[in-house]
Symmetry: C2
Subunit: 501 residues, 2 copies
C-alpha cells in the first residue's frame, strides 16, 4: 500500500473516532445545560456506548493493521498526524479491557460516595472506595509504564513528559516564594479589598458585559456560544463549534466575569487550531497545562492589569452605572488582585492558589507511591494547610473532600493548573518582549495582537508538539517557576505597596 492511501485510511478512521468524540461532547454539554433531570440514567448509557465504541475503534483490528503499516513505512516521522494516531493507539492498547471496566465502575461508585461523604463532612465514608481507586490507578500506572516514579505514568496522561523529578524542585521553589509573599502581605492584608466586585450585579447585565469582553478578546460567536451551568466549562465539537458556560452570583461579579474570561481563553485555543486538523487527534490542546495557560494568561494576567480596567471601566459603567460610581481603574485593579489565604481551592486568589495545588501534588505523589496511607489523608492535608497557608479546615468538606477529582481517580490532574500558571507567565514575558506596546494596546481594548501571537506560537501546533517542546520553541527556555515568581512579586508589590524580591 502506498503512503498516500495509508494516510488517507488513517485520517478516515481518525475522522470517525473524532466525530464520535464530538457527539459524546455534545451529549455531555446538553446534560449540563438543557437536559431534563429524568434523562440522567439513559444519557449515561448513551455516553458509555459512544465511549466504548471510540475505544474499540482505536484499538481494533483495523487500527492495529494501520499502525503496523504506518510504523513499517516510517510514515510517522513524516506526518505528525500519523505519529499522533500511533501514539494514541499504543496508549489505548496498553490498558487491559478488564482494568478499564473496573476503573470505570469504581469511578461511577466513587462519585456517588464522594458526594455523600462531602455532604456528611466525613472522610471515612469516602476512604474505602478511594483506596480501591488508588489500587486500580497504581495498577494502571504499571500498565502505562514509567522510567522513574510510578506517579509519572499518571502525570503523563494530562501533561505529556512531566515527571516528579522535574516538578519536585520547581514546586519546592514556588512554595517557598509563595510563603514569602503570604508572610509579606500579612501585616498589610486589610489595606486592599475587593468591595467594588462585591456589589449587587443583575444577572442579565453580568452575562451581557461578560459576553462583550469575550468578543473583545476575539472569541467568534458565529462559531460558538455561551450558556449557564452549575459549574463553568469550555467544550468543543471542532474549531467551528466551541461552547462556553458560566454561572451567576449576583453579589459578586468575579464569578461570572472572570469565569467567562477563563473559559474564553480555553475557547480561543479551541477555535485557533488549524482547520486542516479538524476531526483528527491534532485538534486538541498540547496538554491540560498548556490549555490552562491559555485560560490563565487572559484571566489572571491580561485582564487583571490596571490597563485592562482603563479600557473596561467605561463599559462596565454602561452595564452597571450605579455600581461604577466613584470607581477608578486603580480601584478595580486592586479589587481583582487581592491575596488572602483561604480553605477552598476554586475560590483562591492567583497567588495562594498554587499552594493548594502543591499540597495536592505532594499528597497524590505519596499516595500513588504507597508512602502515604489513604486513612492518613485528612491529617496530612490539614498539616500542610497549616504549614503552607496558615489556615486549617474545621471539617473534611472544607478540606480533603472539597474536590471532585479523586472521586473519579483523576490523580495527576491537579499539577496542570499550576503548570498553566507557569507557562502563562513565561508566555507573558515573551509577549511583552515582542510587543513593546502591549500595555497600551490593552488600555485601548486592542487584543488582536496578543491573540495573533498566541494563534501563531501556541494554537497553531494543536497537539502535534508536546507542551515542553512548545514552551521551549516559544520562550527559548524549559518550564520553570522563575517567570511566575518574578511576575507575582511584581504584582503583589504594586497592589500592596510593598517591596518584594
Amino acid at each position: 500500500m502506498n503512503t498516500e492511501v495509508l494516510e488517507k485510511q488513517t485520517i478516515s478512521l481518525m475522522n470517525t473516532i473524532s466525530d464520535i468524540g464530538a457527539a459524546t461532547a455534545v451529549l455531555n454539554w446538553d446534560q449540563e445545560t438543557y437536559m431534563p433531570h429524568g434523562a440522567s440514567m439513559m444519557r449515561a448509557e448513551q455516553i458509555s456506548t459512544l465511549s466504548t465504541l471510540m475505544h474499540q475503534m482505536l484499538t481494533g483490528e483495523n487500527a492495529k493493521d494501520l499502525v503496523l503499516k504506518l510504523k513499517d513505512g516510517n510514515a510517522t516521522s513524516q506526518n505528525p498526524l500519523m505519529r499522533l494516531f500511533v501514539e494514541e493507539h499504543e496508549k489505548a492498547v496498553k490498558l487491559p479491557e478488564d482494568l478499564v471496566k473496573k476503573v470505570s465502575k469504581a469511578q461511577a461508585l466513587g462519585q456517588d460516595i464522594w458526594k455523600e461523604a462531602r455532604s456528611k463532612k466525613d472522610f471515612s465514608i469516602f476512604a474505602p472506595i478511594l483506596d480501591e481507586l488508588l489500587t486500580l490507578k497504581r495498577e494502571e500506572a504499571e500498565c502505562r509504564g514509567y522510567a522513574d516514579n510510578r506517579y509519572d505514568a499518571l502525570l503523563d496522561i494530562f501533561e505529556p513528559g512531566a515527571t516528579v523529578a522535574h516538578l519536585n524542585p520547581v514546586f519546592d521553589k514556588l512554595r517557598d516564594a509563595t510563603s514569602t509573599i503570604v508572610h509579606a502581605i500579612e501585616p498589610v492584608k486589610h489595606t486592599v479589598n475587593d468591595a467594588p466586585m462585591r456589589q449587587h450585579f443583575p444577572g442579565d447585565a453580568q452575562m451581557a458585559f461578560s459576553k462583550f469582553i469575550a468578543e473583545k478578546m476575539g472569541f467568534d460567536f458565529s462559531y460558538g456560544r455561551m450558556d449557564l451551568t452549575a459549574h463553568p466549562f469550555c467544550t468543543s465539537f471542532t474549531q467551528h463549534d466551541v461552547r462556553l458556560t458560566t454561572r451567576i452570583n449576583e453579589q459578586d461579579l468575579s464569578s461570572c466575569l472572570y469565569g467567562v474570561i477563563h473559559e474564553t481563553g480555553h475557547g480561543l485555543y479551541e477555535q485557533g487550531f488549524p482547520i486542516e486538523y479538524a476531526r483528527t487527534f491534532a485538534a486538541e490542546g498540547a496538554s491540560i497545562g498548556m490549555h490552562e495557560s491559555q485560560s490563565l494568561l487572559w484571566e489572571t494576567i491580561i485582564t487583571r492589569t490596571e490597563e485592562f480596567w482603563e479600557f473596561a471601566l467605561p463599559h462596565f459603567a454602561k452595564y452597571f452605572p450605579e455600581q461604577a460610581k466613584g470607581l477608578s481603574a486603580r480601584d478595580m485593579y486592586h479589587a481583582v488582585n487581592t491575596v488572602m489565604p483561604s480553605l477552598i481551592r476554586v475560590e483562591a486568589d492567583e497567588i495562594t492558589y498554587n499552594m493548594h495545588i502543591i499540597l495536592r501534588f505532594e499528597i497524590e505523589r505519596d499516595l500513588i507511591n504507597g508512602t502515604l496511607a489513604t486513612k492518613d489523608i485528612p491529617e496530612a492535608w490539614n498539616a500542610k494547610m497549616k504549614e503552607y497557608l496558615g489556615v486549617v479546615p474545621s471539617n473534611d468538606a472544607l478540606g480533603c473532600l472539597q474536590d471532585v477529582h479523586w472521586s473519579f481517580g483523576g490523580f495527576g490532574y491537579f499539577p496542570s493548573y499550576t503548570l498553566g500558571k507557569l507557562y502563562a507567565a513565561m508566555e507573558w514575558k515573551k509577549i511583552q518582549e515582542v510587543m513593546p506596546n502591549v500595555h497600551s494596546d490593552i488600555a485601548n481594548g486592542e487584543f488582536s495582537g496578543i491573540l495573533n501571537w498566541l494563534r501563531k506560537n501556541i494554537h497553531s501546533y494543536g497537539k502535534t508538539e508536546t507542551p515542553g517542546e512548545i514552551i521551549k520553541l516559544v520562550t527559548g527556555n524549559p518550564l520553570s517557576e522563575e517567570e511566575f515568581v518574578r511576575y507575582a512579586y511584581g504584582k503583589v508589590s504594586s497592589v500592596y505597596g510593598i517591596q518584594l524580591a
Copy 2:
C-alpha cells in the same frame, strides 16, 4: 447457542445502534435549537458519520450472524424485539450501498436546489434534480420490492402495509366528502372567523400558556423540555428525554398553541412506550401515520371542542386578560374551527388539509409509476388545486415548490398526514364509546382518562405491532375514511350552522 444468550446479544447490538441513533437525534436537535451557524458543515460530517455507523452495525457480519441464528432458532416468532431486529436488518441489506450513497448525494443537492428554485419561484430549476431523485427512488422501490404497485414500496417505508390498492378508494371517498363540505360552506363562509386567535399575544405569555396546556395533557417535563425553532418538531432520545419545539407569531396564537399541542401529542406517544423497550427498535411509533394520529387527536379533535375552551378560557384569560375580554367558549370554538380553501398545506384547516395530501398522493403515485412526467408537475398541480379546492397558485413557490419533502426524495411520506387524521377519528369514536363522560372530563380539564386509554391501547405497543393491526385491535375495524367523514360533517355543521350528511 441457547436462545437466552442469542437474545441478549441481539438486544445488546440494538442498544448500541439505538444509542447512536439517540446521539444523532441530539445532534439534530442541537442544530435546530442552539448550534452556532458556523458549525453547519462540521455538524453534517458528524451526523453522516453516526448514520453510516448505524447502517454498518445493522448490516454488518455480527448482525448477519445474529439474524441467521434467530431465524434458525425460530426466536422471531416468540419475541417481537427479535422479529423487529430481523425486519430492520433485512430492510437495510436490501439497498445496495452504492444506491444509498447516490440517494444521499442527490438529497443534499436536492435541498439546495429546491431552496433556490423556491426563492426564484421557478420549477424548471428544480426539475432536473427532482427527475434524478425520482429515477433513484424508482430503483430503490425495485430493490425494496412490492407485490402490486411500485409506489407501495415507498409507502411502506412510512406506513408499513399501506398500498395504492387500499388507499385509492379511501382517498377517493374522502376527496368527494371534502368537496361536499367545501361547497356547502361556500355561501356561509364569512359567518365564522378566527379574529379571537388573531390578536396581539406577547411571546412569553404564549410560551407559558402553551406549556400549561401541555402539562395538563400529561406531558412530563421532568422527562422532556420545550424550546424555540424555526420549524416546530418533536424528537426523542428515549422515553426519558423527549424534546418539543415551537415558534411564536405574536399576531396569531394558533401557531404556538396548536403547534405545541400537536408536538405534545407526539411527545406523549414517545413518553408512553414501555420502559423495557428503551434502547431497542420497539421504542418507536408504529408508523408515521399512527404518530400523526397521536398529535392530531389532541390538536384537531380534543382541543378544538367547545368543552376544551370551557376549560381553557379562564386560564387563557389569566395569561391574556385584555385579549380575552368579551370572549366566550363558543367564540373560541368557532375561531379555531374555520374552514377555508387555501394554497399552502401547512396553513390549511383540518378539513381542506386532506385535499392537499390527496393531490400530492396522486401526483407522487403517478410520478413513481412513470405515468406523469416530471416537467408536467406544475400543470397537474394547478389543475388539481382548481378542481379540488377552487384556488390556483399564482406561481410555483405557492404551488408545487412549497414543500421540502420531494427535495430529499421523501416520496410516500405525505399520505401519512391524512392517515393520521383517519386513525385519530377512529380512535376518537372508540374513546367516546368507552368513556361516556369524556366531554365533561375535557370541560373540567381532566385529560388523564384519555391519556391512559391511549397509553394502554396505542402507546403500549410501540413498534411491535403494525398500524393496521393496532387500529383493528383498538376499533375492531380496518382503516377507513368513514369515521373522519362523519366527524367532519358533524363539526362543520355545528360550527357553520348548516346541515350535512
